[in-house]
Amino acid sequence: MTGDVGVLASNGCHIFNGCGFPAPGLQDFNWKPFFTIGSFGFSKPMLLAILAVLVVIVFFWAAFWKPKMVPRGVQNLGEIAILAVRDQILRPSLGRRGDSYLPFLVSLFFFIYIMNVMELIPIFQFPVTSRIGFVWPMVFIVYFLYLYLGVKHQGAWGYLRNMIPPGVPWPIYIILVPVELLRFFVFQPFTLGVRLFGNMFAGHLLLTIFTIASWYLLSLSVGLLYAAGSFALAIFVFLLETLVTLLQAFIFTTLTATYIASSVEPAH
């Protein structure tokens, strides 16, 4: 949770105390920088993103720096992780020929997952991807790769032509061109990024609301009952978020794999 819990605790702010509920909001997503260099401020989400990178690098380094024929310990976990991404995300979209994209998809999946799961780890308690500035660079990387592979495998003209399926009469082509261009260059990347951001943002807000409410409603009165209800909901949302953090990383990576597949092999 954010600083609000600390403020509430220190002020003894509870229901029936004449203290209004300090509802969480956008202010809970803005962090004071730890330090500044000129106009650049280094804040908690940046630190968590760097930590996520380190976790991914250290984990896979530890797993595979001296690989054994019969995997044990961390290598076992690393192999399970890689095979899960390969069999559940890469192969269904790209087949065996797409195995060269496995390092990219594994890195992307675990980077997003670790950033998401920061929400549920005590002390960190903030999903980095709930700040959209961390999501857009990933969308740009995926989209750049998508376009590059499309142009490489189909040629620039072929790639544009393949956006609209064959067999469409030419007057319909003219009608569809603005729709296709806007869909391809604006709404597809927009939905890819906003879905991840929106889910993590909403999840964190819900978790904050119910946790703060549990503390705020706590009193030796009927408020205790409300607090218990709110706490039960906080636990429920926490459990839900354990699923959402994984699911969002899965969806982002799966869509990346399908985009790569449609660039490498046009579907129509």
């Binding site: 603005p178 709404f187 399908t258």
Partner: protein, 95 residues
């Protein structure tokens, strides 16, 4: 069927399920993007023309036309998904 046969069938089923999941995800979000893109494209065109000829109503009319075009195109494109997807499987080979 022997154990190896059962294992192969289970693996094939799992692969088919994962493939269906990936295709479903792609289709769902592409359809959503088409709906937004159709409304935005023709709403924008309607807005521009409406601004030029001083008929503000052309903006919502354009959005509705765009929505209609998107829905028609979605039906045309994804209504025959099976026929469209088959060539990609053949190119990809073994999954």
């Amino acid at each position: 069927m022997n154990d190896h046969g059962n294992e192969a069938v289970t693996r094939a089923r799992k692969q088919a399920a994962a493939q269906g999941r990936a295709q479903g995800l792609e289709t769902g979000w592409t359809v959503f993007s088409y709906l937004l893109a159709g409304m935005a494209a023709y709403g924008g065109i309607g807005w521009l023309i409406g601004r030029a000829v001083h008929v503000p109503l052309l903006f919502p009319v354009g959005m509705l036309v765009g929505l209609g075009i998107s829905i028609g195109y979605i039906i045309h494109r994804f209504g025959r998904q099976q026929a469209v997807e088959r060539p990609r499987k053949e190119i990809t080979g073994d999954r």
